[in-house]
């Protein structure tokens, strides 16, 4: 596998990651979202492995495996269990309708490419072109948090942002130091436990997982 081929393969995977980020914005069903999230994790894991192979940074294989374990198997499994336990299969409401969200997403992607243009000029890594995608994934994750009302989608948006960050790290510098990645993985795991607990509490307190209910928590004058 030559470098050019690896770079092209990586670009393809980046494109698919971007596609999955848009799919997250468009999907209305919670189970659908969980599946897309798992696919995004898989793509991320593959991309990390490819970069690891092509650059000779072998610690990226461990990152890749970690991603596979965490984001493709464990987190989707936890979310899947939660969705079943809390019985939330129905369609979920968005604050902004899907076409508008997609248009906003496109603007953010263009913006990301514009932002990373100077970095692409400077960098000589083969992954430099995918940095824009990574940034776009972060922004799209955030957009998802802004436009959705359900607590589970908030978390999925957050996890998608984390995927974007991870991808940015591999694209910009061939990954973070091992210690940092292990730490991040542990954090994610703990976050998963915490949001699991919170979901139950929010659900019992408000009898709903609509985060707009939480506005009731605000101190009134």
């Amino acid at each position: 596998m030559t470098h050019t081929f690896a770079a092209q393969l990586n670009s393809l995977l980046a494109a698919l990651i971007l596609l999955s980020a848009f799919a997250l914005l468009a999907q209305r069903k919670i189970m659908g979202l969980v599946h897309i999230f798992a696919w995004q994790g898989l793509l991320l894991s593959l991309s990390t492995a490819v970069i690891g192979y092509a650059s000779g940074e072998h610690h990226l294989y461990i990152s890749s495996l970690l991603t596979l374990g965490m984001k493709v198997i464990l987190l989707p499994y936890i979310l899947y269990k939660l969705v079943h336990k809390l019985k939330i299969h129905r369609d979920i409401e968005a604050v902004v309708n899907v076409p508008t969200t997609m248009l906003l997403g496109i603007i953010l992607v263009v913006f990301s490419y514009h932002l990373t243009a100077p970095i692409r000029e400077l960098s000589n890594l083969m992954t430099r072109s995918t940095l824009a995608v990574a940034l776009a994934t972060i922004m799209l994750g955030m957009l998802m948090m802004v436009t959705r009302r359900h607590a589970v989608t908030q978390i999925l948006g957050f996890l998608a942002m984390e995927n974007g960050l991870f991808f940015a790290a591999t694209s910009a510098t061939y990954g973070m130091p091992m210690v940092v990645e292990l730490g991040v993985a542990l954090d994610l795991l703990i976050a998963a436990f915490i949001f699991g607990i919170f979901f139950f509490h929010i659900n019992t307190t408000f009898e709903s997982l609509d985060v707009e209910q939480m506005a009731k928590l605000k101190e009134t004058d």
Partner: protein, 670 residues
């Protein structure tokens, strides 16, 4: 000179630590039962007092200055602690008052009566006392702020001892807010100071030029930050409610000493400067006059015994400020007598106010303990049931009024003499001091009126209600500390010359000499301290001679039980006696433009069978209720549109983050 066994500084540091952690064992649940733990803490506090007082007096006698470096690993300069006569002077009340108050608490706040809060109160009381000492020995900004914050927070927990009562928890919150605003001022002060001198260590005495703009900023932030803690008008808003709602021994320590730590901060900051501009002194003097007069005016209108005493603290802080103001003006115009008299007066009043105010608060605590209320208008006739408390409270009242032969007289005399020295000068200095002297006289006069009211209504007459008639004299653990404080008042009042040298040494650490000491006038020659003693003794002898005659007259007078101020009614009842409000009505009326008293007066009922009517008057905390609260409410209303941004909707918060992120990215291109 004989080799000393333990150096005074070691004594002081040991005492500080011992006091700070005297209640630590109580925090371990089930390790020690509360009563025994309280006893242990009291013993530790008393030991700390004895050690600390010995150390402080030794430092004051020798007049030496010592510095120690602490080794720690925080990323600031090497911290330093030190002892000099100024610190030692402030350590006197810091060790004396909490020691007395701790013994008092053993009976007043006994573990058996307050099982659910005695542990925290005892612990925080020790912590507060110890870290007050730490504040005065700190010699760099960081150590100072650490000690200051621990002291201030410990005091919060003490104020909020009975936080299940809404008014107590409100008073605590008000205190917490104001103390943090004050600390904000101190952060500004020490940051500016560090910028100026390039290190966190305190600069040497008189090493900074006071004429630069940054020096003025330092002075103003110090005045704000420390003034907040000292309770100077108009930063006193926390003080009345905090003092009134804390347990009495805590009020005694707070009013007696914590306020003084604020004064210490101001004096320490002032000592860094030379060539002090005239307006500094004038401003301090003005604040002193305002605090003095308005403090006592507010006090006269109060019905709550402890609130009343709290307002007197504001008045006395005003008197101390007047002394500092005189000293600063003297420093500016180069008048050595003014510096010595003003500063010595202020420092002596620090010690005096600590002793007699603590005495009064402890006395008030005994009265409240016996009657079960803080309302002056419900008490009456306490002197018959609590004769010792009445006597000791009387000593405190005479002392706080500045009457001979007690200590309040001496310190006020020194400040008066400073004023008179100033009047002999020319220009602004003469004008300022000439205007301040009558103000101090007004303060003294009003204080007498106020304490005649308190003593007359609370201790004399007959009990107004059976429910709140005093039942029992306080125990020895409450009387002993009060006796000690009363004796200190008397000794300072009768033999002020004992303290002359110590005061002069403490003064000279703040305002260094401009000429050799021998060529300048000494405190003992500036103030007639010996005549004060002679006059005091003479007064006591005259009183002693008049006493048998008075007692004989009393015996020969017709005896009969009736109500005081019966006014010739056929069947007077106790409720007809003068009340606190009626006694003070004339004076509150005079000061109505500041006090804004609220009077509910429905009019006298007419007819043969008049219906029930009632009269109600109240002097609010005018500065808080008429200035700060409306100002804050207006600010709140003004910012209402911005508060819509914070609407509790999660998505919008994330949107704010997204927008901020995008704007930050974009700002790179602009």
């Amino acid at each position: 000179m004989a080799q000393e066994l333990v150096s005074p500084s070691t004594l002081i540091f040991t005492a500080t630590l011992l006091a700070a952690f005297s209640g630590a064992l109580l925090l371990v649940p089930r390790f020690l039962n509360a009563s025994r733990g309280q006893l242990l803490a009291t013993v530790a506090m008393l030991t700390a007092s004895v050690l600390g007082l010995t150390g402080s007096v030794a430092v004051l006698l020798s007049g030496r200055t010592e510095l120690f470096q602490l080794s720690w690993t925080l990323p600031f300069d090497q911290p330093e602690i030190g002892i000099d006569p100024l610190s030692a002077w402030f350590l006197l009340p810091i060790f004396l008052i909490p020691g007395c108050a701790a013994l008092y608490a053993r009976s007043y706040w006994h573990a058996d009566n307050y099982p659910h809060n005695v542990r925290k109160t005892t612990f925080f009381f020790g912590l507060m006392s110890g870290f007050m000492g730490a504040v005065t020995v700190a010699r760099d900004g960081i150590t100072f702020l650490f000690a200051w914050e621990i002291m201030a927070l410990a005091a919060y927990f003490l104020v909020a001892t009975e936080d299940e009562k809404p008014e107590v928890s409100q008073a605590g919150t008000l205190y917490l807010i104001t103390t943090h605003i004050g600390t904000l001022g101190l952060f500004a002060l020490f940051s500016l100071l560090t910028l100026t001198v390039g290190t966190w260590l305190f600069p040497a005495v008189g090493s900074l030029d006071a004429s630069s703009p940054i020096a003025s900023a330092l002075f103003l932030t110090a005045l704000f930050g420390f003034g907040m803690k000292a309770g100077i008008m108009p930063f006193h808003i926390w003080l009345p409610s905090a003092h009134a709602n804390a347990p009495s021994h805590v009020s005694a320590a707070m009013s007696g000493v914590i306020l003084k730590v604020g004064i210490y901060g101001i004096i320490r900051t002032l000592s860094f400067f030379h060539t002090i501009p005239l307006w500094w002194g004038a401003l301090v003097l003005l604040l002193g006059v305002v605090s003095g007069i308005s403090g006592v005016a507010f006090a006269i209108g109060q019905h709550d015994l402890k609130r009343l005493l709290a307002y007197h603290s504001i008045e006395n802080i005003g008197i101390i400020f007047m002394g500092i103001g005189v000293a600063l003006i003297g420093q500016t115009i180069g008048s050595h007598p003014m510096v010595i008299l003003g500063c010595a007066g202020a420092l002596l009043h620090v010690l005096n106010h600590a002793t007699f105010k603590a005495l009064l608060f402890l006395g008030a605590g005994s009265v409240i303990h016996a009657t079960g209320t803080r309302e002056i208008d419900l008490m009456g006739g306490v002197a018959r049931r609590l004769p010792y408390t009445a006597l000791l409270f009387g000593v405190g009242a005479v002392a706080i009024c500045g009457l001979p032969p007690l200590n309040g007289f001496v310190s006020e005399l020194l400040i008066y003499l400073g004023f008179f020295r100033g009047i002999q000068e020319s220009g602004v200095a003469a004008a300022a001091t000439a205007l301040a002297a009558p103000a101090l006289a007004v303060v003294g006069g009003l204080a007498v009126a106020c304490f005649v009211k308190v003593y007359g209504i609370v201790f004399l007459g007959a009990p107004r209600t059976e429910e709140h008639a005093a039942h029992h004299e306080a125990g020895w653990q409450m009387l002993a500390p009060m006796t000690v404080l009363a004796l200190v008042c008397a000794v300072i009042g009768l033999a002020p010359a004992l303290l002359g040298g110590l005061l002069q040494r403490a003064t000279l650490t703040i305002f260094p000499l401009t000429a050799p000491l021998d060529t300048l006038e000494q405190l003992t020659s500036l103030a007639p301290l010996t005549s004060v003693s002679l006059m005091g003794v003479l007064l006591l002898v005259i009183l002693g001679l008049l006493l048998p005659w008075y007692l004989r007259r009393l015996r020969s007078a017709p005896q009969g039980a009736t109500v005081t101020w019966g006014c010739g009614y056929q069947r007077p009842v106790a409720r007809m006696q003068y009340s606190a409000s009626s006694f003070a009505e004339l004076l509150t009326g005079l000061f109505a433009f500041v006090l804004k008293p609220q009077v509910h007066r429905p009019g006298v009922a007419r007819g043969i069978f008049p219906s029930v009517t009632n009269f109600h008057s109240h002097v609010p905390e005018a500065v808080l209720e008429l200035i700060y609260t409306p100002a804050l409410e207006r600010l709140y209303a003004r910012f209402q549109p911005i508060r819509h941004m914070q609407n509790g909707i999660l998505q919008q918060y994330v949107l704010y983050i997204l927008i901020t992120l995008v704007v930050l990215f974009l700002s790179d291109y602009l």
